[in-house]
Amino acid sequence: MLSKVDGYIYPNEIELNWSILIVLYPYITGLVAGAFILASLERVFKVRVLRPTYTIALITALAFLLVATMPLISHLGKPLRFFEIMITPHLTSAMAIFGYVYIWYLMVVLLLEIWFDYRRDLVLWSQEKTGFMKHVYKILTLGVKDISPKALKWDDRLGYAITVIGIPSAFLLHGYVGFIFGSVKANPWWSTVLMPVIFIFSAMVSGIALVMFVYMMINYIRKKLIDMVCLDTIAKFLLVALILDFALEGLDQIHRIYEAEESFQILDLLVKGKLTYTLFIFQWGMGMLVPILTLAYLQMFKSNARLRRILYLISSALVLIGIFFMRWNVVIGGQLFSKSLVGFTTFKLKLIGSEGILMTVVWLVVPFLILIFLLWLLPPWKRHPEEATSDK
């Protein structure tokens, strides 16, 4: 085990404390926050062309949010004690409030917004369907069956209000995750005031890319035409978010290089050594520069719809991989060097076990299974036309 060490590390530091499961945690929460922000563009900022992805974005956010805490809890030394964080939160801890932020976001923002958005359909489905599903939808209406225009107007108003609350909540959710890392003064790779901001922008990048990817896959599987105006608009937002994110990360690195504090030497070795592939190639190269150049090219030069679709699909997939590696570089990268600042340890990812690659894949696949289930339960394409209701 000591062969894993270069230079000098404190003896307790040989094992990485936060493994790939904690990489997934900011990754998944970021996807949630980003997808929600995209949905809110339609609802609050009235970007009407995004209408086809509004519900998909919300449901995708919900599917991932339902899984967000699982890697965290399963990583705990005492998983069965996780509820202590809810019942006796220690208020000076940046981590203690996560449970509340999470519940707030899940119960108050996402579930309520989706419920208000779907309420009319739930009532109608509970009347149309027969057998078991009739009861399921009946339960989902929570007994509120009033679909008079007046009631629907209220749904719309409340849904709008929730989205307005939801935007700062999404920023809070992920900025807060960034703060959990950024506030650790003992770790110079994490400890930067920009961390929450970078987390918010990278969340937007990954969430927008996810919705883009999911929207294209849904239409591909359902053999439906993709609304290209909508897709082009998402691509434009993705490009803007990517550029902002890239600028922020660049600023962070330039700042580190120029200030060249005590920790600079070890971080320099880290970046040029153990993180070469994951940082320069996967995160910045594949995950940022290639998509930025591709999307910028498509903005500047007219291309046919087919080519655009293919490039959008590739770009969104690359961005999703790139942001995964961004989380990797933060979480794993921050633990590869010793706090003595004169040594490195090594992280070997195992294939099996609760912290292995297979389990990671499971945690990444489960949200998609939940998404499929939710899309089956609440199919956006089978919703009742809105002409009889309020005009959104």
Partner: protein, 254 residues
């Protein structure tokens, strides 16, 4: 005298009185003092424990690390230490070599030829029982806490094993116990010091390099140590106010 002049003078007097009174009231409010940590005297009526380490006296025998493991039932694997000893070798070319094989328990073998050595010395490390400990700050459930005597402790029945405190400790003093899966660290041998005994590492040190004592007691060995030597703490820029004070600490020490 014009009427307006009287009015303005009266207003001046009222304002001045209000301002003076305000300053008096404000200066009487204790919370302002709390902005400065230094103004807060911890546990004024009881002991406030800390440790002095005299590097001039440490011979690197590693008995402290060994005794600690025996006394506290710490895993014998070489990756779990409540206290350990580091050997620093400064070479003639200015480069620094640091080692701590098995925490120093098995002693040290100098690998650098004598002719190349500028200076060599040992540094025992342990939890600094910081006054402003980041580990306590970040614990999400409050499982790690300051005892009334200023000892940073962990409640193993309450810790959820999230490892945030391990990340937050700048000194690498915490680890996850391989058996209980909760965090573990130096307790300053709380079970011993509460009975008036010395911590195990202090007890076994053959040269008296570790000085345990009460910072609130002007006659304690530790206070005398602090008066006598120009002590330093580890990583002072972290602003954690460690209560482990080193004599002879060189800038090379990490």
């Amino acid at each position: 005298m014009a009427k307006s002049e009287v009015k303005s003078r009266r207003r001046f007097l009222t304002d001045a009185a209000l301002l003076t009174g305000g300053i008096f009231v404000a200066s009487g409010l204790t919370p302002f003092g709390k902005l400065l940590y230094a103004t807060e005297r911890k546990n004024p009526n009881g002991p406030w424990y800390g440790m002095g380490i005299d590097l001039e006296k440490c011979i690197g025998c590693g008995r402290c690390a060994d005794a600690c493991k025996s006394e506290n039932g710490v895993s014998r694997e070489p990756f779990f230490f409540r206290t350990w000893v580091e050997q620093y070798t400064i070479l003639n070319d200015g480069s620094v070599k640091i080692t701590s094989p098995n925490g120093g328990i098995d002693g040290f073998q100098q690998q650098v030829p004598d002719a190349d050595i500028f200076k060599s010395f040992f540094v025992p490390k342990m939890c600094n029982h910081c006054e402003k400990s980041p580990c306590i700050q970040v614990c999400p459930v409050g499982a790690t806490f300051d005892s009334p005597e200023g000892v940073v402790l962990v409640d193993p029945n309450y810790c959820i094993g999230c490892r945030y405190c391990v990340q937050a400790c700048p000194y690498g003093c915490r680890y996850i116990d391989p058996d209980s899966h909760v965090v573990d660290k130096c307790t300053l041998c709380y079970h011993r010091i509460m009975k008036g005994q010395l911590p195990a590492c202090v007890e076994v040190c053959p040269t008296g390099a570790k000085i345990f004592g009460d910072l609130n007691d002007p006659n304690s060995d530790l206070v005398k140590f602090k008066k006598e030597y120009s002590w330093q703490v580890l990583k002072p820029h972290m602003n954690t106010d460690p209560k482990v004070y080193y004599n002879g600490l060189r800038a090379e020490v990490k």
